[in-house]
Symmetry: C2
Subunit: 359 residues, 2 copies
Amino acid sequence: MRYLDVQNVKDLALGAAVLGTGGGGDPYIGMLMAVHAIETHGPVPLLSLEEVDDDLLVAPSAMMGAPTVMVEKLPRGSEAIHAFQALSAFLGRPIGATMSIEAGGLNSTIPLTVAAELGIPMVDCDGMGRAFPEIPMVTHTLYGISATPFAMADERGNSVILETIDNHWTERFARSVTVDMGATALIACYSTTGERLKEAVIPGTITLAETIGRTIREAQASHADVLAAVLEVTGGFEVFRGKVADVQRRTVAGFARGEARFEGIEAHQGETLSLHFQNENLVAMQGDQVLVSVPDLITVLDLETGQPITTEGLRYGFRVAVLGIPCSPKWRTPEGLKLVGPRYFGYDVGYVPVEERFG
Amino acid sequence: MRYLDVQNVKDLALGAAVLGTGGGGDPYIGMLMAVHAIETHGPVPLLSLEEVDDDLLVAPSAMMGAPTVMVEKLPRGSEAIHAFQALSAFLGRPIGATMSIEAGGLNSTIPLTVAAELGIPMVDCDGMGRAFPEIPMVTHTLYGISATPFAMADERGNSVILETIDNHWTERFARSVTVDMGATALIACYSTTGERLKEAVIPGTITLAETIGRTIREAQASHADVLAAVLEVTGGFEVFRGKVADVQRRTVAGFARGEARFEGIEAHQGETLSLHFQNENLVAMQGDQVLVSVPDLITVLDLETGQPITTEGLRYGFRVAVLGIPCSPKWRTPEGLKLVGPRYFGYDVGYVPVEERFG
């Protein structure tokens, strides 16, 4: 076990935004919330997955909804605690630790604020190794762990508990309630024991995100090549370099959906890349040709600053590198691809691992 | 305390449809469910409001959603039990009795099926003295009783618990979840003690509905004037007599909304009446003139059979009488009219008690 301090969570929020593939929430807001929580309550204990007792009850804490709205409607923190405690009350027993449901600027740090305030540890893992837009899209689902009981809370004091027959019904009800809650909600769900957690999740995601964030920070400070450093630490590939030429986004049914178009620069002069997203970046295409697709990660880095850019942060004229990063092997199974592969999202293409095209 | 037998519940389902003012569900389906429950489990004890212990926990059991859909998607009964038990589990204590949330062919008998199966009594009261379309529209709301915890269940096995800051937020979340559940859901809510129940609800509604039903049955059997008998037992007025000329209805956001037009016959020859409904009949108008409006009851009786006709049962050519029946005095207070008066439903007219126009 180690403790996460203020510098650790600043690095974490930044690095998680790289793994967030355009979604997972704004890293700046996530950083502010986590720093405030640690300054108020002290450093947060981080358990490695091996250190978790088999009997310990663990539940992720997270935000769901449209990140476009989240930017304007900040969580106060109390709604995350409210959802977490509503889940615990419904289960009739204390939840011993929390974790990230996904990597992302906000969803990596919200559980940290819950851990700090409730005085419980956070586990060094997540359910995606990246971010995905829908509730069932966690490795828990592949291992038969139910999303429910699923607790939701809003900033007004409303809460909801779902008990559903499968994780797809959870998504359906939770999405409607999220829209009614104002397009974002704080949630607690996928509670399970340490024993089942160890096989079902992706280990080390918090440490990986923190390492990525520290790498960016140190490269920026030493005026080193941030992009090269990020590629090295993530095992990713630069698939395009260009300027943001057009961004279309709309908030539909509690999601931020849209498409960005990049005009190539340098080696990519004269080429065009289109990037489709639903909260997260899903598919990067040149004409009809898919360059990278889910479940591999597609991350946009600002070439000036080396900072990751979320889908809601994309602005005309930004000069960026588009990165493809291999996903967890858990997603490359037939069951994994059925849940989060390109066909699930409506793209009629087979999945080709990013390293086969660019490695 | 008395026991409701098969004949009692047949009368109850029929009479409740008169008080249901076009909504509250199909009396035939409600009757079938209740008869089946009593034949399986035996007669159901009915407590008068005075007989309820002050400490007894009482919660209504009901269906919510669009009656137009309910006709095609019958509740199996188990989902009402599921919602009721989910509420009890959430409260962490047994619920000692159930009751009708509203008068209506189905919502007067669903709690009876729950009482029969769980072996608990039903209380002779309801929360409206009629039917209304939205969750907060019960006299409980006027007395500060919360709709939540609010349990919902569907026929697949999904359930949801809402905890909201007021009854209007309950309506909002519950309506969305109902739509996701397929436009109907079974619910249990507004749990309270016998002590608070006594001041907050409308006493005797089950006995009144049963009396109305028996009156119709006996008048039909003796070839007496069914309409005159119904007017006498309800204290109502015949406000129009005509033929159904046109019915427009649509299922929107979990409600059956629409308008029926009647062409006058006999003394009303040459006149036209329009009837606006949202699950229940809301306003009866001649041209711009409101004849009867919520919260008074507007009920359509088939002139051939004396049977009440629900909004989804209105068919071209039916010869009907349109009745106006005074509502409970609890609805005629400023707070009551704010909650269920014509202005709440978007009709910019003041409320005039039906007996002032027709008495």
